[in-house]
Amino acid sequence: MSSHTNHNTNTTNTLSLGTFACAWCGLTVSAYAADGAPRNHCPSCLHSRHVLDHVEGGPSDCEGRMSPIAIAVLRTGDWMVIHRCVRCDELTSNPVCVDDNQLILMRMAVRPLAQPPFPLEAFGTL
């Protein structure tokens, strides 16, 4: 019983002090943001890791790197980052943290307009 409680306190300690290394840029990131929200992607390069199974819940055994591919907007106006696993092509959406790299976020948001599949001049007349 005592070992069990020991184990519990250990895990909570490691959770509260937890850090992880980014799978893409190698930055050591604290697992919680400044406002206490749990982090699931690197604030510098926005890459994530496929450790949670989105469909069934619980841990995933893929562990692949997930690269950010798109910005989605909720009805509340908050931004979400859409990640895609480079190993199994699973898509997940995660809320944006306050200290995320705004340059990469903005670059993802405007990237469709940089290479439009049709000329955008016609929209000037609308």
Binding site: A70, V73, I82, P117, A122
Partner: protein, 139 residues
């Protein structure tokens, strides 16, 4: 839609051949009706072998799982366009989210998709002055 990173750097994988025949006397006639705007849509789309969303309102139906055309999902929910993504070669992908189960999927745009709907979807992150303005101010 599955690509590994090696092939994306070298060459795009050719589009998957469709082995389920929805046309030519398949399980349905040559068109389907959009679940969101009720438009009758023909199945042959310019530029793609898999018509998977309505060209007018960009809504889709949750019928496939991993492979286009496998009809393996038992959800059948309506999928709404959530965001726009771009491949490294500049091709646009619509991110759909199932309104019933929340599953996400990425689909290439077709040649006859409504350009106004596509641009409105691509501009959605920038249209909200709160988030976009905060992002620009912190740059």
């Amino acid at each position: 839609m599955s690509r590994n990173s090696n092939s994306s750097r070298r060459r795009r994988r050719p589009q998957r051949r469709k082995d389920v025949l929805h046309t030519q006397g398949g399980h349905r006639a040559n068109d389907f009706r959009c679940t969101s705007c009720r438009l009758d849509v023909s199945l042959d789309a310019p530029g793609t072998a898999h018509r998977n969303h309505c060209p007018n309102c960009l809504a889709s139906l949750h019928v496939d799982r991993k492979i286009p055309g496998d009809r393996d999902a038992d959800c059948r929910g309506r999928m709404e366009a959530l965001g726009m993504s771009v491949r490294p070669d500049g091709e646009w992908l619509i991110i759909h989210q199932c309104a019933s189960c929340g599953e996400l999927s990425a689909n290439r745009i077709a040649g006859d998709d409504n350009p106004l709907a596509l641009v409105r979807l691509a501009l959605r992150p920038l249209a909200d002055p709160k988030a976009a303005g905060r992002a620009l101010l912190t740059l």
